[in-house]
């Protein structure tokens, strides 16, 4: 039950270079006012996503080189998630490059995976964003007439040209791809709490599809959800880091009663506590990513621990950010709300903390009754 001696909780040079190039791109192409526009107009993020996915080649991080990917792994994907979180970037990395890609890879699909790795296509796994790993999420049936059913609150459909659909067929669980647009597929965007990760409800009525699993559909979906669950804490760390840094700068600048508000002990102690919490968030997110990368025996425990801690911590960081900024944080122009919405939405994504604590209790032999 010890920490695996192989666990590396730091960042290596390649990872720092990756971080640096992505951060520079996002600073240039994805400033807060650009992010804000996703709330008022139809998304104009395809050029940004192309730059991230294809030009920087980040869509293929989890894809082996033999399939045209970068042949990197979860540690590098986690760095991408950190930076995307820090910028509240409205790109479908989690939904396409993690959820859909890992599901297809695990199922043994190759053609779509190759194109995903190059950033030529974008895919979405048709499950509710709030689905925890370990659940078979399908409300879709597959038969001779095609795919039929309804899936709500799906992330990442706006740029997707391929839907990856989990369906129940006559012989059990199946995984299908549907090329978009297609007859019998209706995708209805719905206003989301966090518009940087837009959601849609999908209705399938006899949609034609390609079955891509070989009897391993359940494992493909399970693996995709666990990978995403182990990587989302890194995004939450990125969100929390932005909140901490923005708040720190603000309390140093903002003056009331003739002094910086950050000189009041009530504020200083909150900042110290927040710094501690964000530091722990980073350590747990890194441990989860590192365990996933090495396929460590502790990987599921690490993901559960990170999910339980980091979701709440990012929300707390965003809430402290709003409170310690005061009135300006309530305005549409100031970006604090982008992070509050992202943090709150991330907390619910892939299942809530209590669901992970419940699973964790089974893994570490602390039964509920």
């Amino acid at each position: 039950m010890n920490l695996a001696p192989a666990a590396d909780l730091l960042y290596d040079e390649t990872e720092e270079e990756l971080r640096h190039s992505l951060r520079r791109l996002l600073a240039d192409r994805c400033p807060p006012d650009r992010v804000l526009s996703v709330y008022d107009s139809s998304p104009t993020v395809s050029a940004l996503w192309k730059a991230v996915a294809a030009d920087l080649g980040l869509a293929g991080i989890l894809v082996p080189e033999s399939l045209g990917g970068a042949g990197l792994g979860a540690r590098e994907a986690a760095v991408v998630m950190e930076e995307l979180g820090r910028a509240a970037a409205p790109v479908p990395y989690l939904s396409s490059a993690v959820l859909a890609t890992v599901a297809l890879l695990t199922a043994g699909e190759r053609d779509t995976v190759r194109r995903l790795a190059l950033g030529d296509v974008t895919a979405a796994l048709a499950v509710p964003l709030s689905t925890p790993p370990g659940e078979w999420p399908s409300t879709v049936t597959a038969d001779d007439s095609g795919l039929t059913g309804r899936v709500t609150t799906v992330a990442g459909t706006e740029l997707a040209s391929v839907l990856v659909v989990a369906a129940s067929g006559p012989d059990g669980q199946q995984l299908h791809t549907v090329n978009l647009p297609a007859d019998g597929v209706t995708i209805t965007p719905t206003p989301a709490l966090d518009m940087t990760r837009p959601l849609a409800d999908i209705t399938l009525s006899g949609a034609s599809s390609t079955r891509v699993d070989s009897g391993n559909a359940a494992e493909a979906v399970r693996r995709a959800l666990w990978c995403a669950a182990a990587l989302l804490p890194s995004e939450q760390y990125g969100v929390a880091s932005w909140c901490l840094e923005a708040t720190l700068s603000y309390v140093k600048e903002r003056r009331q009663f003739g002094r910086a508000v950050g000189s009041f002990q009530a504020v200083k102690h909150r900042m110290a506590d927040l710094w501690l919490e964000v530091g722990q968030t980073g350590a747990l997110a890194r441990y989860a990513a590192d365990c996933l990368a090495r396929d460590d025996a502790d990987a599921e425990i690490a993901a559960c621990v990170a999910q339980s801690f980091c979701g709440d911590a990012a929300v707390h960081a965003a809430e402290e950010c709003v409170q310690l900024h005061g009135g300006i944080a309530m305005t549409w122009e100031y970006p604090a709300h982008l992070y509050l919405k992202r943090a709150k939405s991330d907390q619910l994504a892939l299942g809530a903390g209590h669901q992970y604590r419940s699973r964790l209790s089974e893994l570490v032999d602390l039964p509920s009754c």
Binding site: M1, N2, L3, A7, D8, L9, L10, L248, V251, K252, R259, A260, G262, S263, Q265, V267, K268, H269, M271, A272, D273, W275, L276, G279, Q280, G282, A283, L284, R286, Y287, V305, S308, F309, H354, R357, S358, L360, S361, V364, D365, L366, P367, S368, C369
Partner: protein, 397 residues
């Protein structure tokens, strides 16, 4: 880098093997073994050669300790001489003269000099720089007079690190000097101080014209605050890394939960799991801090680990009592004792709950540590100090 590291690890493994061959831990007196450990440079690999170390990064110590532990070699008795090993030794190393380092470091590692800490006073707690114990020069000696408090282990200590006021005419931080005091000197009186747990782990120490040779002054006259700060920084860095999962307070509660299905309840279950996650978060954060230190990027988390540890220990030990229902009302023993060593998890749940209250007070309160983080790590404005530039003797009290 990778090759160098492996070379160093191979060299250390050889050195440990050589030490074990020359001094069989099974037949060598523990004291002699520790002396040989010091002389071979394996006691603290980051210390200079000839002074217990090899001048290597601190991270390599873990390998040495693991190899020694596997061979059944006697440990360095951290619990018995934590202050000597964790605080006095690094401070002597940083501020001692060459003579002092040669004379005073080795006995700490052999356990001949068990240390206690004479810092806090009844009127100088968080505001440590306001200490009133007087040090007056008298020929080649100093005469020390005053009262110290919260001194754990004073009743079995050989030596003490002491902070005293050498010049009341200077502002409080400037008039302090740091000494190493023989606890068997005339004029040292140790009285047990009973605590809320029923035991007397701490003492009050009364000093009346205690003679200390000037050769046992550490650092310059008036440099005491700087020297003491080094001691305290070492105290705070010492906490936290390398613990196994469920190694501390949470392990006690987890065992209780596993062994007592009759006390389980869904409402308590989610609280238990939150506490388990919190304990794990501290453990992984400590492990990352250790890795940062190992590659020479000291993470600022060090001063924060104690705040986290204290909060978790208090929450977990409180939960432990609630979990037990009627049994939580019991207490194991109120008998007045003077324990040899502190073990936060060593007694019953009532003791653990009460003792944990000290975790956020001793060695820097959590409030002071939050100030430290806010000011030194985050760069927020320092607290305003109206007494900073006034001569100590003129301060209102």
């Amino acid at each position: 880098m990778a090759a160098t590291r492996q070379d160093t690890e191979r060299d250390l493994t050889d050195r440990v093997r050589d030490l074990l061959r020359r001094h069989d831990p099974g037949t060598t007196e523990p004291r002699d073994f520790r002396g040989a450990l010091f002389d071979s440079g394996l006691a603290r690999v980051n210390y200079p050669p000839g002074l217990g170390g090899l001048g290597l990064p601190q991270g390599f110590q873990e390998l040495v300790d693991t190899l020694l532990g596997a061979a059944g070699a006697p440990a360095l008795l951290k619990q018995h001489n934590g202050i000597g090993l964790g605080m006095a030794a690094p401070t002597i190393l940083a501020f001692g003269t060459e003579d002092q380092k040669r004379e005073l470091l080795r006995p700490i590692f052999t356990n001949d000099h068990v240390y206690c800490q004479l810092f806090s006073e009844p009127e100088a707690g968080s505001d440590l720089a306001s200490v009133a114990t007087r040090a007056q020069r008298d020929g080649n000696d100093w005469s020390i007079t005053g009262q110290k408090v919260w001194t754990s282990g004073a009743h079995h200590a050989d030596m003490a690190i002491l902070l005293a006021r050498s010049d009341p005419g200077l502002p409080k931080h400037a008039g302090l000097t740091y000494f190493l005091v023989d606890m068997r000197s005339a004029g040292v009186e140790v009285r047990p101080l009973r605590q809320l747990t029923g035991e007397a782990e701490f003492n009050e120490v009364f000093l009346t014209d205690v003679r200390v040779p000037d050769s046992h002054r550490l650092g310059e006259i008036g440099q005491g605050w700087k020297v003491a700060t080094t001691t305290l920084n070492n105290e705070r860095v010492a906490i936290g890394s390398g613990a196994p999962r469920e190694g501390g307070m949470i392990g006690k509660v987890a065992a209780t939960w596993r062994e007592n299905p009759q006390w389980r309840h869904p409402a308590m279950h989610d609280r238990l799991m939150r506490l388990w996650v919190d304990a794990e978060a501290i453990r992984i954060t400590g492990e990352r801090l250790r890795q940062q230190l190992e590659v020479g990027q000291p993470g600022p988390e060090g001063s924060g680990m104690k705040v986290l540890f204290a909060r978790a220990a208090q929450a977990i030990s409180g939960f432990d009592l609630e979990l037990r229902g009627a049994d939580g009302l019991r207490y194991d023993d109120w008998t007045m004792r003077r324990p040899d060593k502190v073990d936060y998890t060593g007694r019953g749940p009532g003791y653990r709950y009460l003792r944990a209250k000290g975790n956020s007070i001793e060695g820097g309160t959590s409030e002071i540590l939050r100030n430290v983080i806010a000011e030194r790590v985050l760069g927020l404005e320092a607290e305003r100090r109206v007494d900073k530039d006034t001569a100590w003797k003129d301060l209102p009290r």
